[in-house]
């Protein structure tokens, strides 16, 4: 009985991609384009730029499939890290790219939105924990991770002492870690 691509594991599909099978890449694309696009859109805030970053992400998967090691983490984690790097690269390559200060983030997060591909209960708890952070802590975490800024760059943009930015990031990250541990 022939196996169907839809029935294959991510790891098996990655093996086929590394052998040059485009249809395996299309299957991975269909599985993960939604979270990849959601992440790149969150970072870039522009549909066309998010589409470009998503496309670059899957091209990287095509080129680097052989380097994926399931022992080091899940495919979705690997994929989303690539997507973040691609989106941040677009921001860094364009100095005029608008820097959102993350103040309206709460309004853009739908806590009840379904997470088709992920262990949603866990991640919803993390989303909830992020939203429940004090605004100044959430803002610096957003700027660091979703805008690719160092703590020094954030301090310059927000006109705050570097030590204050570091403290806010640390406090926020500790709370998020606790949210995951408690889950």
């Amino acid at each position: 009985m022939a196996e169907r691509l839809q029935d294959l594991t991510d790891e098996r599909l990655m093996g086929l991609i590394s052998q040059g099978m485009q249809t395996a890449l299309v299957e991975i694309h269909s599985r993960y384009i939604s979270p990849v696009y959601a992440l790149t859109l969150r970072i870039l805030q522009q549909q066309h730029a998010a589409e470009d970053a998503s496309q670059e992400t899957f091209l990287r998967v095509w080129q680097k499939a052989a380097t994926f090691d399931p022992a080091r983490g899940s495919l979705v984690a690997w994929l989303m890290t690539i997507a973040r790097n691609e989106a941040i690269a677009i921001i860094r390559s364009n100095r005029r790219f608008p820097v959102m200060l993350g103040e309206d983030e709460q309004a853009t997060i739908d806590l009840n939105a379904p997470g088709k591909y992920l262990q949603d209960t866990e991640w919803r708890d993390l989303r909830l924990a992020l939203v429940n952070l004090p605004a100044e802590q959430r803002q610096v975490i957003e700027l660091a991770y979703f805008r690719g800024m160092t703590h020094e760059e954030i301090a310059a943009v927000l006109k705050l002492p570097p030590g204050t930015v570091k403290s806010r990031i640390l406090l926020g990250m500790r709370k998020l870690r606790l949210a995951l541990v408690e889950y």
């Binding site: 299309v26 091209l59 991770y145 020094e152 640390l170 990250m173």
Partner: protein
């Protein structure tokens, strides 16, 4: 930085919020400090969670098609048969499909008993390839140029086949690596030139290329590099330093662009000569 400073900076490191100098120091420290490494893994999980916890969003239409177009146009990437690849049957597993190549080959072989079995096999293969070439002629000007080159190669190949002493060897594909791969080599043991014909070999990602190996039982030399076209096909002229009768095995592997001094991956297809 001291251990305590690094420990405190690990959440920032996991968020990629440290500068380059801090990044290097922390990275070096993590190689020697298990406690900090464990702490980093915990914060790394938080960071990964932030990435994957995005709410579901509808994806704009056409992204899959645009990805396939980019693959087609990327330098080094092999043009796929986009018409079939982007159709509704895109998920049809090519490696599990029936083998029309073999059945058509058998059909064509039957009425050509006057030809030797090897010659008939190659003739049938040429018919298949010529059909594809005709289809390609209706495509872009660039493809017309490519097709013309391939047609010339086919003509040379037919000339080679008619030479006294030429024989055809069908190569065996490794099922785990190239389940659909077909190939034959037309070889004259007294000469230093041969032709390799391949069909349905997987398209390779950018930076990878097929490499031909000739083994005389003691040493292995490179017989050339090639990529396959949209249909996984290629015709490759192999030139050896000594008459091909000296070689016992021909094999093909996937190597980095530019080729390797020796095989670095499992054999894709090959056979004894």
């Amino acid at each position: 930085m001291k251990h305590e400073q690094i420990e405190e900076a690990i959440p920032l490191y996991a968020l990629d919020a440290v500068n380059r100098r801090e990044h290097q120091e922390i990275e070096a420290h993590l190689e020697t400090c298990q406690a900090c490494l464990d702490l980093f893994h915990e914060y790394q999980q938080v960071a990964t969670g932030l990435l994957v916890s995005q709410p579901f969003l509808p994806v704009p239409a056409g992204m899959e098609e645009r990805l396939l177009q980019r693959l087609d146009s990327s330098p080094g990437a092999v043009l796929p048969g986009s018409a079939s690849n982007t159709s509704g049957a895109i998920y049809a597993p090519p490696y599990a499909a029936p083998l029309p190549w073999e059945s058509r080959l058998r059909g064509w072989l039957a009425p050509q008993r006057a030809l030797s079995a090897g010659l008939a096999a190659v003739a049938a293969l040429l018919l298949v390839m010529n059909g594809v070439l005709l289809w390609q002629l209706n495509q872009t000007q660039q493809q017309v140029q490519q097709t013309t080159t391939q047609s010339l190669q086919l003509r040379n190949l037919i000339s080679e086949m008619s030479q006294q002493g030429s024989r055809t060897i069908v190569l065996q594909a490794e099922p785990a690596v190239a389940p659909d791969g077909k190939a034959a080599v037309i070889i004259n043991p007294d000469t230093t030139e041969a032709y390799l014909l391949v069909q349905s070999l997987p398209k390779l990602p950018q930076g990878r290329i097929y490499q031909i190996w000739l083994n005389d039982g003691k040493t292995r030399i490179s017989g050339g590099l090639f990529n396959v076209d949209a249909n996984g096909q290629a015709i490759v002229k192999i030139t050896a330093p000594v008459p091909l009768g000296n070689y016992k095995v021909l094999g093909i592997t996937v190597e980095p662009d530019g080729g390797s001094p020796g095989p670095t991956s499992p054999r894709v297809i090959g056979n004894n000569l």
